[in-house]
C-alpha cells in the first residue's frame, strides 16, 4: 500500500536538512524527526488520518522552503486592518513566523517571556517542555516541522503570574515565490498562571503559501490557558496547524477555533492530553466554508487520569462546492474512571456540491464513565425560513440569521465580547 505522496518537495526537504548544521540542543530531536520524515514522507489518502484529505494538490513541486523573509511592504496600516475592534490586547506581529519587533508591542508583564523560538533554546523552561508532547513518528507533518523549523515563538509565563490583557498574535504570510514554511510555537503556562492568546492571520502575497505550523502547549497545575484561533485568508493560503496540549492536574484549557471561507485548504489537528485529575478542557469550533474550500478538523482528547471533564462542540456550514471533514477521537484510558467526556459535531450543508465527512470516535477502556458523542448532517429548517420570510425578512438575511442561530452554541461560548462581535461579523461576511 502506498502511504506516501511522491513529490520533489520531499527531496527538497531532505536536501535542506542535510545542508543544515547538526549541532546544539535541538540536534537530537531534529535528527529523530528527520529520520521519521525520511521514512514516512508526506501522507497519502491511504493513511487513515488523511482518508478524506488529499494533500497531493497542495504539496507541489514548485514550493520553496522559505525562512524568515520579511516584506518591506508590510506597513502599520496593514497591521491595523488586522486588529480586532475593541479588543485591548498586546499586539505581536509575525511574518512567516518571524517576530517583527518594530510592529509589535513591548510586553512588560511580570514573569512573562516572549522570544523567537531559536533564541530560547538554552532556557530551562524551553528544554523542559520542547518536543515532549509531540510524537513525530506518528504525525507526518510534525516531523517535517521539527526537522526543519527555524522560526516561531517561545512564550513563557511563570508560576502564579497573570497576564490580564490578551496577547494578539497576527500571523502574516508573505514571500516572492510559492513557499512552504514551518513555524513552531511553544507556550509554557506554569502552575496557577493565567494567559489568553488570540491568533489571527493575514496573507499579503499573490503567491501560494503552505504553512505547516506546529504548536506545543503546556498547561501547569491549576493554570488557565485560553487560545483563540481565527483563521481567515485568501485562496493563496493553505494552513496545516497541529496543536499538542499537555494539561496537568486541575488545569483549564479552552480552545476556540473559527475557520472562515477564503482559505483554500485548512487542516487543524488539536490533540489534548489530560494528564492529571480534575482537569477541564473545552473545544469550540466553527467552520464556515465556501468555494472549493477544504476544511479538515481532527481532534484527539486523551483522558489519562480520573475525574476529568472534556467538552467538544464543532459546527460546520458548507457552502458552494466546499468539503468539510471532522474527526474527533476521545480516548478514555483504563485509569480514567469518572471521566465525563462529550463531543458533538453538527453540519449544515448549503451548497449543491458541498459534502461533509464526519467521523466521531470513542475509544473507552474504563467502565465508570459518562461519554457520549453525536454527529448530524442536515440543512435549513424550511419552516423556519418560511416563518422569517412571512415576517418580511429577505431570503439572504433570513439565511444569515439561521446560520448565526446555528452557530450560536459555539459563538456564545466566547467570553470576550469584542471577539464575539468580530466572529459574528466574519460569519455574516462569509455568507455573502
Amino acid at each position: 500500500m502506498n502511504t506516501q505522496i511522491t513529490s520533489s518537495l520531499y527531496d527538497q526537504c531532505i536536501a535542506t536538512y542535510n545542508t543544515e548544521q547538526k549541532e546544539g540542543t535541538l540536534a537530537a530531536i531534529r535528527k529523530q524527526a528527520f529520520t521519521s520524515f525520511q521514512k514516512n514522507g508526506f501522507p497519502s489518502t491511504k493513511v487513515e488520518d488523511w482518508k478524506y484529505t488529499n494533500l497531493k494538490p497542495f504539496i507541489q513541486d514548485n514550493l520553496q522552503l522559505v525562512y524568515g523573509e520579511t516584506s518591506t511592504a508590510l506597513t502599520k496600516e496593514i497591521i491595523e486592518s488586522a486588529l480586532i475592534p475593541g479588543l485591548d490586547a498586546y499586539i505581536v506581529v509575525l511574518v512567516n513566523g518571524q517576530l517583527q519587533k518594530t510592529l509589535s508591542h513591548q510586553i512588560n508583564e511580570k514573569g512573562f517571556t516572549l522570544l523567537p523560538i531559536l533564541e530560547a533554546t538554552e532556557l530551562p523552561a524551553f528544554q523542559q517542555h520542547f518536543g515532549k508532547y509531540t510524537d513525530v513518528t506518528k504525525h507526518h507533518l510534525t516531523a517535517v516541522n521539527t526537522a526543519l523549523f527555524k522560526d516561531g515563538l517561545f512564550v513563557h509565563l511563570t508560576k502564579s503570574q497573570v497576564v490580564e490583557k490578551p496577547i494578539h498574535i497576527i500571523h502574516v504570510s508573505t514571500a516572492k515565490t510559492d513557499f512552504f514554511t514551518q513555524p513552531r510555537y511553544l507556550y509554557v503556562v506554569e502552575e496557577n498562571a493565567r494567559l489568553k492568546v488570540v491568533e489571527t492571520y493575514i496573507t499579503t502575497t499573490q503567491v501560494k503559501a503552505v504553512v505547516n505550523q506546529l504548536t506545543e502547549v503546556f498547561v501547569g497545575k491549576s493554570a488557565n490557558f485560553q487560545q483563540y484561533n481565527i483563521q481567515t485568508g485568501d485562496a493563496n493560503a493553505h494552513f496545516i496547524q497541529h496543536t499538542e496540549v499537555f494539561q496537568e492536574t486541575t488545569s483549564v484549557y479552552n480552545n476556540y477555533k473559527f475557520s472562515m471561507p477564503g482559505i483554500s485548504f485548512l487542516r487543524n489537528n488539536l490533540h489534548i492530553a489530560l494528564d492529571g485529575e480534575h482537569i477541564e478542557s473545552h473545544m469550540y469550533g466553527l467552520y464556515l466554508s465556501g468555494g472549493a474550500q477544504l476544511v479538515d478538523n481532527h481532534t484527539i482528547v486523551d483522558h489519562r487520569k480520573p475525574n476529568c471533564q472534556s467538552n467538544e462542540h464543532y459546527k460546520g456550514v458548507m457552502q458552494d462546492a466546499s468539503t468539510g471533514v471532522f474527526n474527533g477521537k476521545i480516548f478514555v484510558q483504563e485509569d480514567a474512571q469518572k471521566t465525563n467526556a462529550f463531543q458533538q459535531n453538527n453540519n449544515l450543508i448549503l451548497g449543491d456540491k458541498a459534502s461533509v465527512n464526519s467521523k466521531p470516535q470513542l475509544e473507552i477502556f474504563a467502565d465508570d464513565v459518562k461519554c457520549s458523542h453525536g454527529s448530524t448532517i442536515g440543512q435549513f429548517n424550511n419552516e423556519a425560513l418560511f416563518y422569517l420570510k412571512t415576517r418580511g425578512i429577505g431570503d439572504e438575511k433570513a439565511k444569515t440569521l439561521l446560520v448565526q442561530a446555528f452557530a450560536f452554541d459555539v459563538t456564545d461560548k466566547i467570553p470576550d465580547e469584542s471577539i464575539q462581535d468580530f466572529v459574528n461579523g466574519l460569519i455574516e461576511e462569509g455568507l455573502k
Partner: protein
C-alpha cells in the same frame, strides 16, 4: 434430496482415488489450498463449468489479496494452507435419540428454551439440518414448493435452478470485495438458496442451523436470497458450535436481493464457542453480508444478536439503490472474557428518498473489546435521504473496552444524517433497586441488559426473541460479583 445422496455416494466411492483422510463419520480433504482443491470441490459437487470458472477466477483474486490491517484488534496469524477446505458427513445423524447427546449441551438448550425438535436438530439427532458443509435437507420444503418458493441448499440450487444462481451469484458481494469473500467464492462448500416469486408472502420463518462440526475445517457457507417484486421473506440464521480447542474460521457470504416493493428480513443469533477464559480456542467469525434494495420501495432489515465467537468481524450492509427504499440494522453484540467484536454496518444511500435506521447495542464484560464501525454514505443523487444511527455501549467491569468508529459521508444538501452514541455502565442504583426487590445481582444484570437491548430484541421473530433473551442472560453469567 436424491442429489445429495448421490453426492454422498460419490464421495464414498471416490474416497481412495483422491486420497481422503477418513474420520469416523467425516470426509475431509487434506489440508491445503490450490486450484486442484477448487477443482476437487467443484467436481465433488457436480458443478457446471461456469461455476468452476467463477471459483477459479475468485481464487486468482484471492492469491493477489492481502489480509487487511485496519481492524481494531490483533489479527491472529493465518495459514490458509493449514485448513481443510472440504468436509462432508457420510451419515445424516450422529445420534439416534436425545439420550445419547452430551447432557451439558442439553442443559444449555434447556436454559435457552429451545423446542425439542430443534434441540434434536442442534444436537445432530435424526432431524435434517445443515450439518457441516453439505446441507442434508431443509425443512418444510414441500409446503413452500406449492407457493413457488425455492428454499434449498446451494448445491441443489446450482443443479436445479442454475439460471437463477448464475444471474445473481456474486452480484452483491463480488469475489473481489475482500479477501474472505474471495476465499469463500473460491471454496464455498454449500449454503442456502431462497427465491420468493412475485407477490408471494412467505408464510413461515425460513431458518437454518449451521454447525461447525469437524475440527480444523473452516466453514465457507454461501447464502443467496432473492425476493422478487412485492414479496416478503423472513430468514433466520442461528448457530451453535461445540467446544473446540483449536481456532476455527468461518468466512461465509450472504447476499440479499430485494426487487421492487419486496422486503427481506434477515435475523441472526450467533452463539458459537467463544473460547475459554483465557481466550484459547473459539471461532473466528469473518462474514461478509450485504443486501441490495434493487427496486423502488424495497426494504432490507438485518437483525443480529452476537454473543459467541472469539472474534466477530462483520458488517452487514445495505445498498439502497431503489428510490424510497429502506434499510435497517439492529445489533446486539456481547463480548466477555477475551472476546472481540468489531461489527457494525454500511448503508449506501443511492436512490432518492431512501431511509435507513441503525441501532447498535454493545455490551462488554471481563476483558471483552467491542467496536462499532459503521458507514453511512449519501451519494449526490440521494435527495432527501434520511439516516438515524444510535450506538450505545454498556461496560461491565473495568478491564473491558468499547469503541465507536462511525464514518458519515454526505454529498447531498437535502440529506439528513444523525448519529449519536453513548457509553455507560450499569447503575449501582439500578442494581440496588432490584436487589431490594429480592432479585440477586446476576439476575438483575440480566434483566437490565435485556431492557437495554429491548429495541433490538423486539425486531427478532418471537421464538427467536425469547431464545435471544435467555442467551444474553447465560452469556453474562459470572461476569458480575
Amino acid at each position: 434430496m436424491s442429489t445429495d445422496l448421490e453426492i454422498l455416494n460419490q464421495v464414498e466411492a471416490e474416497e481412495y482415488k483422491y486420497g481422503f483422510t477418513t474420520d469416523i463419520d467425516m470426509e475431509i480433504l487434506p489440508k491445503g489450498l490450490s486450484e486442484d482443491t477448487i477443482r476437487f470441490i467443484s467436481s465433488k459437487k457436480n458443478e457446471p463449468e461456469w461455476l468452476l470458472e467463477w471459483r477459479l477466477k475468485a481464487f486468482r483474486q484471492f492469491e493477489k489479496m492481502e489480509l487487511p490491517s485496519w481492524q481494531n484488534f490483533e489479527m491472529p496469524e493465518f495459514d490458509f494452507q493449514d485448513i481443510s477446505y472440504y468436509a462432508a458427513p457420510k451419515k445424516k445423524t450422529q445420534y439416534k435419540s436425545l439420550d445419547e447427546v452430551d447432557p451439558e449441551l442439553l442443559a444449555t438448550f434447556e436454559k435457552l428454551g429451545i423446542p425439542l425438535t430443534e434441540q434434536k436438530m442442534l444436537a445432530g439427532v435424526a432431524v435434517d439440518a445443515v450439518f457441516d458443509s453439505v446441507s442434508v435437507a431443509t425443512t418444510f420444503k414441500e409446503n413452500l414448493k406449492e407457493l413457488g418458493i425455492i428454499f434449498c441448499s446451494f448445491g441443489e440450487a446450482v443443479q436445479e435452478h442454475p439460471e437463477l444462481v448464475k444471474q445473481y451469484l456474486g452480484t452483491v458481494v463480488p469475489s473481489t470485495d475482500n479477501i474472505f469473500a474471495a476465499l469463500n467464492a473460491a471454496v464455498f462448500s454449500d449454503g442456502s438458496f431462497v427465491y420468493i416469486p412475485k407477490g408471494v408472502r412467505c408464510p413461515m420463518e425460513l431458518s437454518t442451523y449451521f454447525r461447525i462440526n469437524a475440527q480444523n475445517t473452516g466453514q465457507f457457507e454461501r447464502t443467496l436470497i432473492i425476493a422478487d417484486e412485492s414479496s416478503y421473506v423472513s430468514y433466520l440464521e442461528g448457530c451453535t458450535a461445540p467446544m473446540r480447542d483449536e481456532n476455527q474460521m468461518h468466512a461465509a457470504v450472504v447476499e440479499l436481493i430485494a426487487m421492487q416493493d419486496a422486503e427481506i428480513k434477515y435475523s441472526t443469533v450467533q452463539n458459537w464457542y467463544p473460547g475459554d477464559k483465557d481466550g484459547k480456542g473459539g471461532i473466528y467469525n469473518f462474514v461478509t453480508k450485504r443486501g441490495i434494495c434493487k427496486g423502488d420501495r424495497s426494504k432490507i432489515s438485518w437483525t443480529q444478536v452476537e454473543t459467541g465467537s472469539s472474534i466477530t468481524w462483520k458488517y452487514p450492509s445495505v445498498i439502497l439503490k431503489g428510490d424510497r427504499s429502506e434499510g435497517e440494522f439492529y445489533s446486539v453484540a456481547v463480548t466477555k472474557n477475551k472476546q472481540i467484536a468489531d461489527t457494525g454496518t454500511k448503508i449506501y444511500h443511492i436512490g432518492k428518498d431512501t431511509r435507513s435506521r441503525i441501532i447498535s447495542k454493545g455490551i462488554s464484560a471481563g476483558n471483552g473489546q467491542n467496536s462499532y464501525r459503521g458507514l453511512v454514505q449519501v451519494g449526490p443523487n440521494a435527495a432527501h435521504a434520511r439516516n438515524f444511527t444510535q450506538c450505545d455501549s454498556l461496560l461491565i467491569g473495568d478491564r473491558c473496552g468499547a469503541h465507536t468508529f462511525p464514518y458519515i459521508e454526505s454529498k447531498n444538501n437535502t440529506a439528513m444524517v444523525e448519529h449519536e452514541a453513548t457509553t455507560s455502565k450499569i447503575g449501582e442504583d439500578q442494581i440496588f433497586y432490584l436487589n431490594q426487590r429480592g432479585i440477586d445481582t446476576e439476575k438483575a444484570v440480566a434483566l437490565i441488559v435485556n431492557g437495554y437491548c429491548k429495541e433490538v430484541l423486539n425486531q427478532l421473530p418471537m421464538e427467536f426473541a425469547v431464545e435471544a433473551q435467555k442467551l444474553l442472560a447465560i452469556s453474562l453469567e459470572g461476569s458480575v460479583g
